[in-house]
């Protein structure tokens, strides 16, 4: 790692937003269409600087909405460009229609999402309500937990997207990550990833080989077209593993699809996603010091759902407390990750108690003390079958 770092990397203090911008630059994107929304804004500001200074040769389309941001990305990607966009919250919601179209048209667009709460009431603060609302859009979804991982994941995202022909979003905590600085290794010079994400031929809008893209499918074809997306998402699983392993081999950093922390010999695993994992790990350390047998894990790849890694985790777990920063209202268990984990466990006949906790909505602070209290409650097994809205004032 150190030798690699000396030769090809430059170490910079970056927010996750800036890490995204550096990663898009180092991925040699051709077209960026984006609209400002808090907390995504500094991604596009930095990319604009790169283009303005000649550090990145790309076209910036200053669209008039996120709907047009994704529409222009689709047009650019269809025309053969490596397209990039970034958004948050209401912007992601405004794009929603196009998210389905981008994946349905099998376009390898990459998007970063600084995850933020949804209105109403209006909140600019972080949670994962926006990202979780896109679960059914056939986008490959990576949720990172550090600025370095954000940088690496954007690059990996192009490899995955351009292999399987599905779009990829890379999400991370609004504000807690988008606006806090960490040391990040970025490429020292252009072209580091040229072979990792090579320019490949694909079907595009080419006047020499005319194609019709975005055709109408009647009942005799719609189903088959959608099923091809199902197969592509299934293929994306292996390709995500490959992209991460190859990245690790070439560049010295890998993350896996599910990250485990002190899971062995634990009575309880705290499972979550995103930047909150740092707090969870800190709480686990503190509890371990007190002799409380607690471990932690986080889901890095949310779509496709990392079945094998989670099965392996569950085999080692006596109980799981899932922390979700989002909720699907109207279900007894409403945390999206908890719901999906339970569904998966049911399919594979895995019986481990799963406790669902909703935390950190609209960036309500979650401290190590909160995590410890959640762990104590879960370890006592005196936990409701329904989701617990941790710390809410009723």
């Amino acid at each position: 790692m150190e030798t690699i770092a000396k030769s090809i990397w430059k170490r910079l203090p970056l927010s996750s937003n800036y890490a995204v911008a550096y990663a898009a630059r180092d991925s040699d994107v051709d077209e960026i269409a984006a609209y400002p929304i808090t907390p995504q804004t500094t991604v596009v500001e930095k990319l604009s600087e790169f283009i303005a200074n000649g550090e990145l040769l790309a076209e910036m389309v200053h669209v008039e909405s996120e709907h047009s941001a994704m529409s222009a990305s689709i047009g650019a990607s269809a025309a053969g460009a490596r397209a990039f966009t970034a958004t948050s919250s209401q912007g992601l919601e405004l794009m929603h229609e196009l998210l389905h179209i981008a994946s349905g048209m099998r376009l390898p667009i990459v998007m970063s999402v600084a995850a933020r709460a949804l209105s109403a009431p209006l909140s600019i603060w972080g949670d994962y309500s926006d990202v979780m609302n896109t679960r059914d859009t056939s986008w490959i979804t990576i949720i990172a937990s550090s600025a370095q991982e954000v940088y690496d994941s954007i690059v990996q995202a192009y490899r995955i997207a351009e292999s399987v022909m599905l779009p990829v979003m890379v999400a991370y905590d609004g504000f807690m990550m988008s606006h806090t600085y960490e040391p990040v290794f970025v490429s020292e010079k252009a072209g580091l990833f040229r072979d990792y994400i090579p320019r490949k031929g694909r079907v595009v809008l080419d006047t020499k080989k005319p194609v019709t893209m975005g055709a109408v499918a009647n009942p005799d074809w719609y189903y088959e077209t959608k099923y091809q997306q199902v197969k592509a998402m299934s293929d994306a699983y292996g390709l995500s593993v490959e992209a991460d392993q190859t990245f690790s081999k070439l560049y010295g950093r890998g993350y896996g699809l599910v990250e485990e922390y002190n899971v062995d010999n634990s009575e309880l695993v705290i499972l979550t996603y995103g930047g909150i994992f740092g707090t969870v790990k800190q709480a686990v350390d503190e509890m371990r010091e007190q002799g409380i047998p607690v471990g932690a894990a986080r889901v890095r790849l949310f779509r496709p759902f990392p079945l094998n890694e989670l099965r392996s985790l569950l085999l080692k777990s006596k109980a799981v407390a899932v922390l979700d920063r989002s909720f699907s209202n109207g279900l007894p268990v409403s945390g999206p990750l908890a719901v999906e984990l339970k569904s998966m466990m049911n399919s594979y006949n895995i019986n481990v108690p799963v406790y669902s906790y909703i935390v950190g909505l609209g960036q309500r602070t979650v401290t190590e003390a909160d995590i410890s209290k959640i762990a104590s409650q879960a370890l006592s097994s005196k936990v409701s079958n329904e989701s617990i809205y941790w710390g809410v004032r009723e």
């Binding site: 650019a76 460009a81 809008l205 893209m213 074809w221």
Partner: protein, 317 residues
């Protein structure tokens, strides 16, 4: 940009076809005529970005297509944004040497009135303001025909549609048609024109000028709709002609700030000649017909004043 028109007679129309027959447009639909002539002007080095609508659904039912040029459909309200993306991609790929920099590609956005006047207006305004080199062609059939003749911002006053029915309280649409080409012109768009398929050389010359424009261009084409306007399929072009002869529709262009009426009408006919051909206006009273005539008279007066001479003549019948 003035001078002799490129297309003067039918003999100037290229033989090459890039829009294939066998599509599912209604018999007598004039949108097919417009699309066919549009591609004859544009030729093979063209990418068409099509909004959801009649033309899109009728020409690209998988596994068939009428388009012998690259064609993209994304959604209803975003044609101008998708076309912006296509145009930007071509610029970027040329700069990077991934695409041959000497290649010339026309980017055409093609949308109906719903996708332009209403749901697509924001994306269109953004595309115009950013100055993309895209020719936006609006085929205007004055209602949401693809979904079954619902009122749009383009539907003219008094017209029957399924959502502006004629009853004891309502007499068709109660509002005016939105002046879309003027709205586009107000963006400072270098080339804006209106035309109709009866004056096909006028329409083709405008397509040509639009494609030659550095920056955005907008060609607004009236598209008589047999199904929605309720006329016999054989009358589409005749109604298009009557639209011009009555000055219900005026063919003009604003070429880099130079405004001119391209199809002059020495002797203007009464609007009833246009209206009585169409079932959507069959409920009109004499008074309502006269109201329409009065508003056309005012429009003609304004146009003549703007041009500085009588380009649209007096009412003679």
């Amino acid at each position: 940009m003035s001078g002799k028109p490129f297309f003067r007679t039918i003999f100037d129309v290229p033989h090459e076809e890039y829009f294939s027959p066998g599509h599912g447009l209604c018999a007598g639909c004039t949108a097919g005529t417009i699309a066919k002539l549009l591609l004859k002007v544009a030729g093979p080095n063209t990418i068409v970005v099509n909004a959801t609508g009649c033309v899109e659904v009728s020409t690209t039912t998988y596994p068939y297509t009428s388009w012998n040029v690259p064609w993209l459909h994304v959604a209803f309200e975003n044609t101008a944004a998708a076309a912006s993306g296509v145009e930007s991609a071509i610029i970027a790929l040329k700069k990077k040497g991934i695409m041959d920099p000497s290649t010339k590609v026309n980017v055409i956005a093609l949308a109906g009135d719903g996708g332009t006047y209403d749901i697509g207006l924001q994306a269109l305004s953004g595309m115009l303001e950013r100055g993309h080199r895209v020719m936006y062609v609006l085929y205007d059939n004055e209602a949401y025909m693809n979904t079954g003749i619902q009122r749009s911002g383009s539907t003219p006053e008094f017209a029957w549609t399924t959502t502006t029915p004629v009853g004891s309280q309502w007499k068709g649409k109660m509002q005016q048609k939105k002046p879309i080409a003027e709205i586009v012109s107000a963006h400072g768009t270098p080339y804006v024109a209106t035309s109709n398929p009866n004056n096909f050389t006028d329409m083709m010359n405008k397509f040509k000028k639009g494609l030659e424009t550095e920056g955005p261009s907008f060609v607004h084409v009236l598209q008589p709709c047999t199904t929605g306007w309720k006329f016999d399929p054989r009358y589409g072009i005749e109604i298009s002609r009557l639209a011009t002869e009555t000055a219900m529709w005026i063919n003009w262009e604003n070429d880099h700030g130079e405004f001119r009426v391209t199809v002059t009408v020495p002797r203007r006919r009464h609007v009833r000649n246009y209206l009585r051909m169409q079932g959507r206006f069959s409920h009109l009273t004499e008074q309502e017909v006269n109201e329409i005539q009065d508003s056309v008279n005012k429009k003609v007066e304004n146009i003549n004043r703007l041009v500085g001479k009588t380009v649209i003549g007096p009412l003679v019948e």
